[in-house]
Amino acid sequence: MSEKDKKNDPIEKDHITGVETTGHEWDGLKELNNPAPRWWLWIFIISVIWSIGYWIVYPAWPTLDGHTKGKYGWTQFQQLAEQQDEIMARKKVYLEDLNSMTFEEIIADPELYQFAVAGGKIAFKENCANCHGIDASGQGKYPNLNDDDWLWNGDLKGIYETIKFGIRSAHDDSRFSEMTAFGSEGVLSRSEISDVVDHVLSFTSEKEVGDAESLMNGAKIYKAQCASCHGDQGQGDSTIGSPDLADAIWLYGGDRDSVTHSVHFARNGTMPHWEGRISDEKIRQLTLFVHSLGGGE
């Protein structure tokens, strides 16, 4: 480099590497103007060339009234639809069988049964878990579906109908039965209710309940007012939705106060119907899932 050139060259050079600096400086650190590595440059150039092909094939540039469409009219929506179609086609094989076969036939086919239960599990979480809980073990006044205590029929057909038509729902075919609110409607007096509660608790209570007189009176009232639905021994009747009073499970609580409350005001819990809201095959899948929880009859 001649003397003249040096003067005309205002660019500072790093004294160790001899590389020009960019003139940028941060706290005494100066950026060197090293060229990008050649492999990097090549990849960059190849990427640029590649992108041109990309513009041709795919939607790329915005225009005044939209964007360039690409040579093959590819869109993300279309891709999504294709993928969904593919999944639906795969499901279709099972769904056809699911709709045409009886529950017993489905259970006898392990692959189809697995498909149905898996689909039912998802549908349960989407539609049912809000009340019955994520593990179907119920909460508050919503019954546990894992156990073998069924207010309405717990066999496959019964579960199917319950889900489809609901309980005390707006559906015409809804499961329906109504317990009298013996207290608030004035059918029984307070002491009569107390006596009949003593009698009901005596079905299951390990401790002595009430005295002989109240029990006798309670039994009489039970026979007249309750036995027609709940049975002589409190065994209930799941065809008409009357609960078993002699088992270990109390949906609304089995202590004296809770039972008294039930007799006084009646409970008459409700469940919405699902026909028309979810497809029949979903209801069938749900039925098999609920039945598979272990309590199904």
Partner: protein, 471 residues
Amino acid sequence: MNEKSDEDITYFEKQSHIYPQRVWGKYRKLKWVAMTVLLGIYYAVPWLRWDRGPSAPDQAVLIDMPNRRAYFFFIEIWPQEVYYLTAILIFAALMLFFVTSMFGRVWCGYACPQTVWTDLFVWVERLVQGDRNARMKLDRGKWGIKKIWKKTLTHTIWLFIGLCTGGAWVFYFNDAYALWDSIIHFDISWYIGGWILALTFSTYLMAGYAREQVCIYMCPYARFQSAMFDEDTLIIGYDEERGEKRGKHKKGTSWDDRGHCIDCKQCVNVCPMGIDIRDSLQMECIACGLCVDACNNIMDKVDLPRGLIRYDTLRHIEEGTTVGIKSFIRPRTIWYSFLLAILGIVVLYGLMNRSLLDLHVLHDRSPLFVKMSDGRIRNGYDIKIMNKTHEDRMYKLKIKGVDVLETKFRGAAHASTEALPVYADSVGQFKMFLFSGAQEEQRKNITFEITDVDGELTAEHETIFISRKKQ
């Protein structure tokens, strides 16, 4: 010393092309033998058969990815038994350390795939383009028909070797005979084709281009092998005492007042790593012994004793003595052999006594338990029975630690605690409900035990029975 000036500092070492020269001798012969044997093993092993009965493949060495099985002659490993593989790898690593501490880098010099394939590629190079000088001349020369032809031929053969390497690789993961049939009919999946191509190009790249760069910059073993070295480890050493002062020697002149090294640079020319062994032990040296052969040939020619460059220990080279059996027995090697013996016994014992039955039980988490209408408590379990035998088997289940009132198997009418059927070489899955009364403890530890109905195989798994909510 020539101190590098500021101007000369570069940040990357440029790869200089190495043209290893042909050499004859003991170690070169050893290398040919090692290459033949190792490549032979690599290509032949997938074709070996090993009878395992009708329900398992009959390929002696097979890693069956889709079915999650690995077979090695009499050994069969399931994915959950990967600890066998871990133990074998640790054994192999210790073996490497042991051999290294005794004989130096014999792995690098003779057995490493990088060395073997590079050696093969250099051989091809020499076959087509001639020896060192011819190759250098060819590379310096202008491009012409001859050069293009020679280069093309070399690369074609390289790619063909790569293709064979990749082609043989996939046989280890599929039935070799069936796959061979599909390959020659071009009826293979993109998956297998992709592996063949990947191995083809990585072989081509590693053995054709990267070569010594792999050993110097990529291989971790080359970097930490010095930790296994001491003054009693066998290395390739240049006897400086005897060799210096080096210099050209005219036939018939006296050897007094000078070293035996005639500075012919044969040791440098044959080196596949491109180093000068006379600069003493270096990280780049893979201890292949080719310089020993080269130097011995020269020593024979000038009527001097062999061994100016030789396999020896640092101690002996310094003392001017030669290596003896005593060099091999020292605390380091004793420790390594001790560890190897222990680990070998453990691995062998584990493989000989490998259980053919395994049980896993998973307790339901939601819900933890269910109270039934008759007051009984129900817990759910997912049971997995691993039948590693090659026959269909029936198992009995015994539950210890809780009163069993009833058991129910979901979706498996044929199953009961008396008879749980599991197919040969597979996992049987069962969903079981266990009924019992309410327990004293909220969480009770119980044990599931299964027994082979007609055999004496048993397996146990601990689990829990939950019957009350936490207060």
